[in-house]
Subunit: 344 residues, 2 copies
């Protein structure tokens, strides 16, 4: 099984974390721990080679380095990336998936460029208009919920919402091991009278599909209550829901840290509580849920946070591996066919 | 100065909190503490009168009870509420604002019905197409940020976003005491290339208005970082941002509570940390930010959470009082005129 890591240069320009140690160390960890995978690392050979020397001979034999001259910067527009950066590490990684040399690609680079390159080179599955960005979120009771789309499409149609529901259902079935995963539409109220036109149309459509376990509307706070396994929304709303909940989690944790420098009693409480708070934060922190999959393509593409830690980037690699093992694109293809046949 | 509390029956049917004690006790607390206000309570006289007996004669002299036969249920559609419930407590409360008998109305009833009644009876200010629902959110550094729209309009135009920006700016100036409050548009990325059509058009428009201190795009997590004083978005996205961040805050707090019943060490840590965590939760908890104002109308309407506690409902009353003192609708009217003149 061939596995593909895009050690994307452009990460250097984003978030202040030092590239390449973060991405490379995560990749080398994956090489060491998963001997059933081969790896192709794309990037500057002069940076990658010295790190590879740290691997055992057996491990190194499963790694191919593909030297790339170009770098897609965080400020490059998707069209610039597509037209002018033919030898970028990101493009080479995606091309490897396109040509079936690799099963999956992981990148922490420019999201817009990644989505654009993946869409044009790998193409979407039949029946899917646009890929969606999907990630796991924490819920009560240590379950996980899939939220999509997280920003692949900011101008969305009700048909796209319907396709997200199908894809999310497959992913929850495969990755969470759920039988007939509960699929919900994100809305501003649970009553039928509420919601915008887009959501109402998708709701009507989803009600008519026996192949999906569609449970109706949920509100923003229900994302975290284990009410649904899959929460479907447009890319604009999904991105805002993801980031605003991350923002609040950070606010809570920062507040605790600040208390440590307040009066003695608060300081003591905070000091004692810190391990507990950290364990809670670790459950809700974005790192652990790093690795947003771009699904609906004829191949696997996982997007890591641009400023991910080595641990977080490793989670993204794990996610890509799991999708490759479970053959997620094939599963989605088959489900879409079932659903489309049902509607004939 | 006349102040108007709608002791709305329908709350009884929602959220499981016992009406009327919650709303009535909040109202009576407001009566006792704010002798510069008069109050009109709408609802079932047989329920309200016994409670009023607890007030001193002087306080009671500032309260009028308006008996209403009808109740708008949480399941009533806005049009049902408008057409068929002519003697509902909510309608009577809004009519009092419409006829200038009252400066403000507070209700914890059916949001859709409240917005619909307020829109049709009180009407919007000239230059405002639709009212917006706005609330304060916590940010780092104990500041507050205004987020709007929270769901008054789920099908939104770029012109509406522009009007929200103007209204939000006035509210931040008046209620937060900010000079030239920083107004931002909620988007999925800070780069100009990102965003949906709606947001891009509003961005273009806002850049051309010197009367506003427009600072560009923010992402979901920036709501809580004190980067802006006003964050503008459509009602669908705003509602999801509000509720998903509330949902995550609840998840964190519930997680701590659960730890209390885990092993001894965790239990001890959680027990010690609980006061600290509660103080943090109190800062982010929705109760404290209860009281979403419906702005853009020719009068003041404040919406309380349907399952608000007495404290939370009291906050909503306080907010309505402050808006009445500051004459917020007049301030918005004047700002809108300035902005429209600038654009001639």
């Amino acid at each position: 099984m061939t596995y593909f890591v895009s050690a994307n240069h452009s990460v250097r320009y984003h978030g202040g974390r030092s590239w390449p140690p973060v991405i490379l160390s995560a990749a080398l960890r994956a090489v060491r721990l998963h001997s059933d995978f081969n790896f192709i690392l794309c990037g500057d050979r002069s940076v990658i080679d010295p790190e590879l020397a740290k691997l055992s001979d057996a491990d190194r034999s499963r790694v191919t380095v593909r030297h790339c001259e170009d770098v897609i910067a965080m400020t490059d527009s998707p069209s610039q990336a597509l037209r002018h950066k033919k030898d970028s590490s990101m493009r080479r990684a995606i091309e490897a998936v396109q040509t079936k040399q690799a099963d999956a690609c992981v990148s922490a680079g420019n999201t817009g460029a990644l989505m654009c390159l993946a869409y044009y080179l790998i193409k979407t599955l039949q029946g899917i208009d646009r890929p969606a960005l999907v990630s796991f979120m924490p819920t009560a009771g240590h379950h996980r919920v899939l939220l999509l789309d997280l920003g692949a499409n900011v101008n969305c149609t009700s048909e796209a919402l319907f396709q997200y529901a199908v894809m999310g259902s497959v992913l929850a079935e495969q990755m969470l091991g759920k039988q007939r995963p509960r699929v919900a539409l994100l809305n501003v109220g649970e009553e039928d009278i509420k919601g915008n036109t887009l959501v109402k149309m998708a709701d009507e459509h989803l009600k008519q599909v026996p192949a999906l376990n569609y449970i109706g509307y949920v509100e923003g706070d229900d994302i975290f209550t284990d009410y649904a396994d899959v929460v479907v929304t447009d890319g604009f709303t999904g991105n805002v829901a993801l980031k605003s909940s991350e923002g609040l989690a950070k606010l809570v944790v920062n507040e605790v840290k600040k208390q440590s420098s307040s009066n003695l009693w608060s300081r003591l409480m905070a000091r004692i509580a810190l391990p507990l708070l950290k364990s809670i934060y670790n459950r809700v922190n974005p790192d652990q849920y790093n690795g947003a999959s771009l699904i609906g393509l004829r191949g696997i593409v996982v997007k890591s946070h641009g400023n991910a830690s080595a641990d977080a980037f490793y989670y993204a690699i794990l996610q890509a591996m799991q999708e490759a093992r479970l053959r997620v694109p094939e599963q989605i293809k088959s489900k879409i066919e079932t659903v489309l046949l049902e509607q004939l």
